[in-house]
Amino acid sequence: MRKIVLTALSFMLLLSLALTGCATPTPQVVVQTVEVEKEVIKTQEVQVIVEATPAPSAEAYPRNETLYTTGVQWGPPSNWNPWNGGGYSIGTLGLIYETLFIYDPLADTFSPWLAESGEWIDDTTWQVKLRDGITWTDGKPLTADDVKFTIELADPNGAYKAGLAFQNMWKSLHSIEKVDDLTLVFNFKDNPPYQEVGFYFMYQVPIVPKHLWEGRTAEDITGGANENPVGSGMYMAELMDQDRAVLVRNDNWWGTKVFGKSPAPKYIVDIVVPSNNVGLGLVLQGGIDLDNNFLPGVASLVKGGYGIKTYYPDAPYMIPANTVQLIFNLQKAPMNDINFRKAMAYAINVDDIVQNDYAGLVKAADPTSLMPSWEKYIDQDLVKELGWTYDPEKAKQILADGGYKDVDGDKFLEAPDGSKIDLKITCPSGWTDWMAAIQIISRNAEAIGLKVTPEYPDYGGWLDSLLKGTLDMSIRNEAQLSSTVYSYYMWIFQHPLETIETAQWGNYGRYDNQEAFDLVDQLDQVKVGDDEGIKAITSKLQRITLTDLPTIPLWYNGLWAQTSTKVWTGWPSAAEGDNHYLHATWRGYWNMTAGLMLLDLKLAENP
């Protein structure tokens, strides 16, 4: 008896070993290498059908009605609260709760959304008219009361005093009045921050229903899980589980009448994908339609005929979404020396990072660091006069002229006062593309005789060094695509300096220049759309960043987006005839043009 069991067990073992052995392809396939790829693609198509057919009753989300996405959620989804800016599940802001307007950063235009119009009727009064006939998903109408209630949630003198992202707006907002059910006026104090009004009130603040949020505590508003969200948007919350969140289409959405179309996918299933290999595999199989993860080497797949598309068919493939900058601690020597910073600017070979680290998926940044969407503000004459390009010889010259010498003969330069230079450049551990980038920067620094060692602390420790100002050098990219270049300059010139730790928004190097700070405050008060006014101020700010180099712009990080055309087509791209929306599931992008993207999706012919 025992022998039989043993034999059976060892047979099982052999079988399991044999199964691993299967990993090597059969000889036939190996011989016909060219055929293999075609075969694989064919089997993929078959597989999709096979998966869709068995027991349709078991499949709650049929493939031809479902959009599969990934890239926003890194852990189990936890809430549907639009005020929980860093943690809400996919689409909570934008698809479930909506904003008054939406913003298109590529065209730099606002479009009415919940609002029909928004006008400054005088310098301090902003009048908003809502669309008629919008209802919450529980059937109640969305009115001016809901908007007034939402804005007043953050009023520090109001009933709730909730710590919402736009709370600062109440410093300049005097009151908000309902004129009739669909009309409101915002009364501002003198010199309203027009740029921030456009940013927050037009497309960042989600309007929530008064009748369901009334009476909640401030804690519940800012941090509650909001388990059964009632919004006004094109989707509703359906399910949350360990590794996914599901949205279902709202068939009574107001936009169906207004735009004459509704989003094609009935369901959106957002998948938690913890590693690149899984994401890549799912995209290749057609299991994911839109992947917003950074997939190194995706360029070769775009070119390889796998049915994977990116926004541009060639480098840089992705829409630039933010600028990665080298930041210096300006309170420490030698980073407080302009010659040191200037030498670093000439020493860094950004093309090396772009080509070898990113394989062309990003684009080198303009010396002003303004992204292509803000290109119209770039003062080209200034760039010609003060810009720089990779030139290590010039960097060496600048250092030599500045008094940097190798005193002790260790092949590294010492500071003009004779002290040793031994600096650290950091980025969070696990951010592999950035880790490779700071290695390149470290080698570039070494080439001009500066000792700069890369280090990779945990995210928490790294963030702490930025907030407390204990870093030497690091790289960072917080200021994203937005309606106002003010948000970018506020990031560079965050002030006053003592608030940097609590503001958590830029100037980690503690750059101190009152002139720049005043200019940034003035910039906030330029009216939205007044490009000349913005240029006049930003040109002065560009002169300051180009001469003083508080940071060094390196490259534009992309809006990572890989789309598969196996089931859904009509994806945004740069090509003429395609739409130019943003295909991002990230937080803060549905209220730009990502929502419109859903309206243009079409089912592929043979999904």
């Binding site: 067990l9 099982m12 189990p76 992202a165 360990q242 290749l284 963030l463 503001a503």
Partner: protein, 330 residues
Amino acid sequence: MGRYFRRKLLIYLLTFFVAVTLDWCIPRFMPGNPIDILISRAGLRGSAVQTMYDYYTRVFGLDQPIWKQYLNFWASLFKGDLGISIYLFPTPVSKVIAGAVPYDLFLLIPSTLLSWIIGNNFGAFAARSKQLDNTLLPFSYILSATPYMWLGIILAWAFCIVFRIFPLAGGYSFAMKPNLSFAFIGSLLSHWVLPFLSLFIVQLGGWAIGMRNMIIYELESDYSHYLKTLGSPNRLIRKYAFNNAILPQITGLALKLGEVVAGALATEVVFAYPGIGYLILQAIHNEDYFLLQGCFLFIIIGVLAANFIIDIVYLLVDPRMRAGMQGETA
């Protein structure tokens, strides 16, 4: 017998206390501050940052002196309250863990036990067969030295991408809603096979080698030779050898449990399989003290409970232990 268990229980309680204290301390030694991370991810600006900073600090009790935080921790632990996850705010840690643990148990218990049983039997079997020993043993060595992560990637590539037999990611089909149907259970199983195999195969090699070496050692020992000279049948000798060789393997099983959790972490990441391993990784990145504490508490309790069970098993399989205990009481 009673004394044995009393002593064991005391040791377990002491271990539990020390382990949980370490579990509480270590996350707090990390540089940085979880509230900063939470706020930084939420993208707050201006006065809202201070408001929320104070609020979260109060909610998590981080405004209190450190000794008081420690006492509070024990107090709420006895009430079964593990706190609120910072990273997955506002979900309670107990709810986060309850959602993940079934996947872990379902993965770890079968893979560990099956690999142990099959590995031992196969190792014992291989020790007697020259041919098997020469062909499969080197393979076992390779398996046992294989990192879980690497084997996982190979399996995923082979079975999910090339042959498309098994799905690549998730706990169950992304097209399904959890329900009690054969289709759903089938989907759960098909998503479970590869993570299970990657853990099972790597562990299997180790147990097989261990057992094979032990058996050879036992067959060469004096009592085996003595039995042989007495003319006992080979089967009897092998049986005694097996009974002796299994003891260190049982101890090994207890030791291995802690290591398996680490293996599960890699496996869960590679297959995007839900579970506690991946939560630990995220909790570390986000300095989520409470989630980390909760996850490690689960591991501590799991390892201690497993050790306790193994202590009892030892009593059952090792007559010397029983004899020793009877000697004590006599």
